[in-house]
Symmetry: C2
DNA sequence: CGGTCACTTGAGGACATTCAATGACCGTGG
DNA sequence: CCACGGTCATTGAATGTCCTCAAGTGACCG
């Protein structure tokens, strides 16, 4: 029977089998027997408080991390010394994939709220992937999905309309929350307006104005951190828009 | 003994061992014995002519492709039906990584010039990676590097300055050409101005104006497709710039 | 209750886009 | 060989979006 270094911390029997994120996280597509082996190498860490670092640029990459609860922001420092937010990570998502190539973390990972993560020692994961084809395949898939997501994001940043960016961002959050069993319509923005703006390549003021504008248009209700999406259809149209000639000129669907 | 379907096309003994891209492409970090196994699964394809498709969105992903000579553009169609260029791929670079997760190509790959590629059947590659730890590790590294590159690109698109984007783009090309044994200072832009603009999230006219501006500033010489980088130092400064207050106002190095 | 911080709102300006026209290059066909 | 039409690239002028700067409001905390 498996050694139980992962267990006592939170009184859970298994790290993965019982996890509600089972079908989002690494285990997806891995058979039950294979899952045992994976569970044996996963460590749990004490929850991180808001603002605590999971890793920083230059840190040796010793493990990947799966968000279990809470949310994490990753960011890096560009040449000019300014922060650039590269992603927000919700439960079931894997962090640290960009560090595999050099063995050094190129970016910062910081908890946006009280957050718990599973720690997966990378060398052991690599070994295991060599023995368990299903796991190897799943890892390739996860990394591929990440690449696909980034390409999608590039498309978003390439579009110049600020409305499309924020709308797409909110819809992305909505979808991901939904997949995790939370409400698609109503959720909390755990990141600051500043972070959102930075991530989307906009100014804070623009983001703020867009929220009010969206509210006036009846697309959503926003109160501080809480967002309620009202008109999903309209939101999707907004996210599809690319040019300046798209707002309130009457919908030319595109 | 290995079937030799890869050989006769161009009279080469081996697909990888003799390849000048040996230390850029997959084989890097894979031992000589292991290399044999890899070579055995690689197919060569007849060269693609300019404009020919390597794959299109919706195509089943059956293989990854390594560019051997020439260059390839990848792009996808966004919601609004407009093309979005997601990358330019030079010799030694791998295509199709974004298709692994779904088994379907999400984007288009099209030759920018006469181009030859190595075809690597994915199911066989996956099998082989399970048997050859060095290969598995290398594949993880390659995908990780791709993710890192995309993050860097996001940072670029987040910066609003158009100069920084074009400068960074040219420097990226320069670096990659240099790594492949070509000149770092002088190279051909195989893609159209339109493609560059699309890739960088700018208008064609802006790119055109920037080329003339850079030329006036003595940063480069450009003639049609041919680019000569003159002042690399200045180019780097330009690429590091982020705000509007960076050009010809005297360098506040940042 | 006063302080700090994050967010919101307003006014002005800069950069990039859009529209429009000219110019260079290429293949075709006379 | 030269004329022709097409595509691609460049250049100019005007509009617009988003940014910057600045002030104001509200929440949270000691």
């Amino acid at each position: 029977m498996p050694t139980s270094n992962i267990i006592d911390l939170h009184g859970l029997k298994k790290a993965c089998s019982n996890c509600s994120l089972h079908d989002l996280c690494i285990p997806m597509g891995v058979s039950d027997q294979e899952l045992d082996a994976l569970e044996r190498i996963i460590n749990r860490r004490r929850p991180l408080q808001r603002g605590e670092y999971l890793y920083r640029p230059g840190d040796r990459m010793q493990a990947l991390y799966a968000v279990r609860a809470g949310s994490v922001k990753t960011s890096s420092i560009s040449d000019d010394g300014l922060e650039q937010v590269t992603g927000f990570h919700l439960p079931g998502e894997l962090l640290g994939l960009d560090a595999i190539s050099d063995g050094i973390h190129p970016c910062t990972a910081r908890a946006l709220e009280t957050t718990s993560v599973c720690e997966i020692p990378y060398d052991r994961l690599e070994d295991l992937a060599g023995q368990v084809p299903g796991l190897q395949r799943q890892l390739f898939r996860i990394m591929s999905r990440e690449i696909q997501f980034d390409e999608h994001l590039m498309t978003l940043l390439g579009k110049k309309s600020s409305e499309a960016r924020l709308a797409a961002f909110l819809l992305s959050l909505s979808k991901r929350f939904g997949e995790r069993g939370f409400s698609r319509q109503e959720f909390n923005l755990t990141m600051s307006r500043n972070d959102i703006a930075n991530y989307l390549g906009l100014a804070v003021e623009t983001v703020s104005r867009l929220f009010t504008r969206f509210q006036q248009l009846g697309l959503l209700e926003v109160n501080r951190k809480l967002v309620q999406l009202i008109d999903m259809e309209g939101m999707h149209q907004m996210a599809g828009a690319h040019g300046p000639e798209t707002l309130e000129k009457g919908g030319r669907g595109g």
